[in-house]
Amino acid sequence: MSRRVPKPRIAVVTFPGSNDDKDAALALAQLGAEVVPVWHADEALPDVGAVVLPGGFSYGDYLRAGALARFAPVMNSVRAFAAEGGLVLGICNGFQILCEAGLLPGVLRPNRSLTFVCRDTRLTVERTDTPFTSRCRPAQPLTIPVKHGEGCYFADAELLAELEASDQVVLRYEGESPNGSVARIAGVVNGDGNVLGLMPHPEHAVDPLTGSTDGALVLGSLVDAALRAATEPASV
């Protein structure tokens, strides 16, 4: 006897220069999502429970990383989706795009070391009450790789104090930050808690073949939340 479990639909947006869209889609599908590919030039988003902006170098990282992608036609729909409480996850370049688009506070700058960093990092989960970390234990250490040249999260003293006071730092690097980001910030959530950006790549840490599977905790949390969003009527 088989029970039909509904699959949450999650959009993965591809910009020109995205290169982790396929990995994100593969990881989400392995975790039980029905992935809907979306092209940057699409005006509308399909009916989905969550949107993922993947890693890469959208528009060649010209001007500033993420600065041009935020003007992609699909971003108007992503902005509207987020404004209605829709779940949006930005990974690496996706995080940079969300910051440039004003959907997340702060900005990502070239790494302090001026080198591209590509290695596993240890992260601490600061909050487990978000749709992106619900499968994690409080203060759980995660091993998830980073690979970026511009991952140095910056917020001025005032904004940083605001972020800390409102618990918007969801993930922090353990030990020294790989990129020089303020307060060792690896991932931040918006004030409403439905938009998360992070520099580490959870989609590269879902299979024991490549080491850690801790990324599945983050993406799995999103799959759970997208399923809830699809089955529960929005409480407005």
């Binding site: 600065a67 900005v107 700058r109 302090r112 001026l114 910056f154 917020a155």
Partner: protein
Amino acid sequence: MKATVLVRPKPGILDPQGQAVQGSLQQLGFAVDAARVGRVIDLELDDDNRGEAHAKVERMCEQLLANPLIESYEIQLVEDG
């Protein structure tokens, strides 16, 4: 009308690129106390009115050319002659 926009990292903002340039200049034997690296954007506009052109380029800076969190900008206008 031509416009040149100078975008600079704001004072106090870490500029690793500038630090690397400073280090290289020192290696070449130039005594340099600090170097900051910004960006130059040259624009050709079809405006004739300086005030309107300036206001337009200012909007471009705010919306795209500079990120106000970390960068300052300076606009220079040159009339076609």
